[in-house]
C-alpha cells in the first residue's frame, strides 16, 4: 500500500502551502496598512479576490482536462476534472460568502442582485450541479463523457462572471482597470497593499495545486477500492 502514502514532493508542497498561508496572514493583518475609508473590513479583499481567482482557475483547469479527456479517454484527466470542480466550488463559496460580509458595512446590505453577484451565483450553482449530476449516472463511461461535455459548457459562466463588472452597470468595484462610476467600495492600493494582494494570489495558487494533488490521489484510491470490491464479489 505504498501508493497510499503521499510522495516526498507532495509532502514538501503541503508544508510549503501551510507556511505560505501563515506568511500571507502576516502580510494581510500586519504588513498591509488599514484602509482609511472602509476600515478593517477592507482586509477581506485580499482573500476574497484570491478565492475568486482560484474558483476561475479551477474551472479553467476543468475545461482543459475535459477537452483532453474527450480527445484521449484518459481516466486520470477525468479525475483531475472532478477534483478541480470540487475545489473550485469550495473557493467560490468562500468568495461569495466573504463578498456578502464585506458588502454589509460598505453597501449597507448583505446581498443585492447586481450583475457580478448574480453571474457568480449562477456559476457556483452550475458547478454544484456538475458534482450532483455526476452522481446520477450509473455507467462510469457515460458519467465521464457527460461530465466532460458539461464541464466544457459550464465554463461559459466563468468569463461572463469576470466581464460582468466591465460590461454592465454595477455597484461592484473593479480591482484591475477602471470601475463603473456607481461602484462602491473602490480604493487606491498602496505598495504594501499590492504586495499583500499579489502574495495572497500566489499563496492561494500554491494551495490550490496542493489540494488538487491530494484530491486526485483520493479519487485514484476510491477507484482502486471500487476495483478491489468488484474483484472480491466476483471471486466469491
Amino acid at each position: 500500500m505504498s501508493a497510499v502514502q503521499p510522495s516526498r514532493s507532495l509532502r514538501i508542497l503541503t508544508i510549503s502551502a501551510f507556511l505560505l498561508v501563515l506568511l500571507s496572514l502576516y502580510m494581510v493583518f500586519v504588513y498591509a496598512p488599514r484602509e482609511v475609508v472602509m476600515g478593517a473590513v477592507q482586509r477581506v479583499f485580499y482573500y476574497h479576490v484570491a478565492a475568486g481567482w482560484i474558483g476561475a482557475l479551477a474551472f479553467l483547469v476543468t475545461l482543459i482536462v475535459s477537452i483532453l479527456y474527450l480527445a484521449t479517454n484518459n481516466i486520470i484527466l477525468d479525475r483531475i476534472a472532478v477534483s478541480s470542480v470540487e475545489i473550485g466550488v469550495v473557493f467560490t463559496s468562500m468568495n461569495i460568502a466573504s463578498g456578502s460580509i464585506w458588502a454589509r458595512p460598505i453597501w449597507n446590505t448583505w446581498w443585492t442582485w447586481d450583475p457580478r453577484l448574480t453571474t457568480a451565483t449562477v456559476m457556483w450553482l452550475l458547478y454544484i450541479a456538475y458534482l450532483m449530476l455526476r452522481q446520477g449516472l450509473e455507467d462510469p463511461e457515460r458519467q465521464r463523457r457527460f461530465a466532460a461535455v458539461y464541464g466544457i459548457l459550464a465554463f461559459t459562466s466563468v468569463p461572463l462572471t469576470f466581464l460582468a463588472i466591465r460590461i454592465w452597470r454595477t455597484i461592484h468595484p473593479v480591482v484591475i482597470g477602471s470601475s463603473d462610476p456607481g461602484a462602491e467600495g473602490q480604493f487606491d492600493m498602496t505598495m504594501r497593499m499590492r504586495s499583500a494582494f499579489f502574495f495572497s494570489l500566489f499563496t492561494f495558487t500554491v494551495l490550490y495545486t496542493t489540494l488538487l494533488w491530494h484530491r486526485v490521489r483520493l479519487e485514484g484510491l476510491a477507484c482502486r477500492v471500487a476495483i478491489m470490491k468488484a474483484r472480491l464479489l466476483h471471486d466469491r
Binding site: M1, V4, R34, V36, V37, M38, G39, A40, V41, Q42, R43, V44, Y47, H48, A51, I87, V90, S93, M94, A97, S98, I101, W102, R104, P105, L211, H214, R215, L218, L221, A222, R224, V225, M228, K229, L232, D235, R236
Partner: protein, 59 residues
C-alpha cells in the same frame, strides 16, 4: 472641522469574513482526511478478507 471623517470600526465584519475562510477551508481539509481514512480502512478490510478467503481455500 466638524466634517472631519473618521475611519469606521468594521473589525467585526473582517473577523466574520476570515472566519468564513477558516471554517470552509478547514472543513474541506477535514473532509479530505476523513474520506481518505475511510477508503484506506475499506482497502485494508478487503485485503484482509482476500487473505482469509485464500487461507480457507488452501485448508
Amino acid at each position: 472641522m466638524f466634517l472631519q471623517e473618521i475611519t469606521p470600526d468594521t473589525s467585526f465584519y473582517m473577523l466574520l469574513g476570515y472566519a468564513v475562510f477558516a471554517i470552509l477551508g478547514a472543513g474541506y481539509v477535514i473532509s479530505l482526511l476523513a474520506r481518505s481514512r475511510k477508503l484506506r480502512r475499506e482497502a485494508e478490510t478487503i485485503a484482509r478478507i482476500q487473505v482469509e478467503d485464500s487461507e480457507q481455500s488452501l485448508s
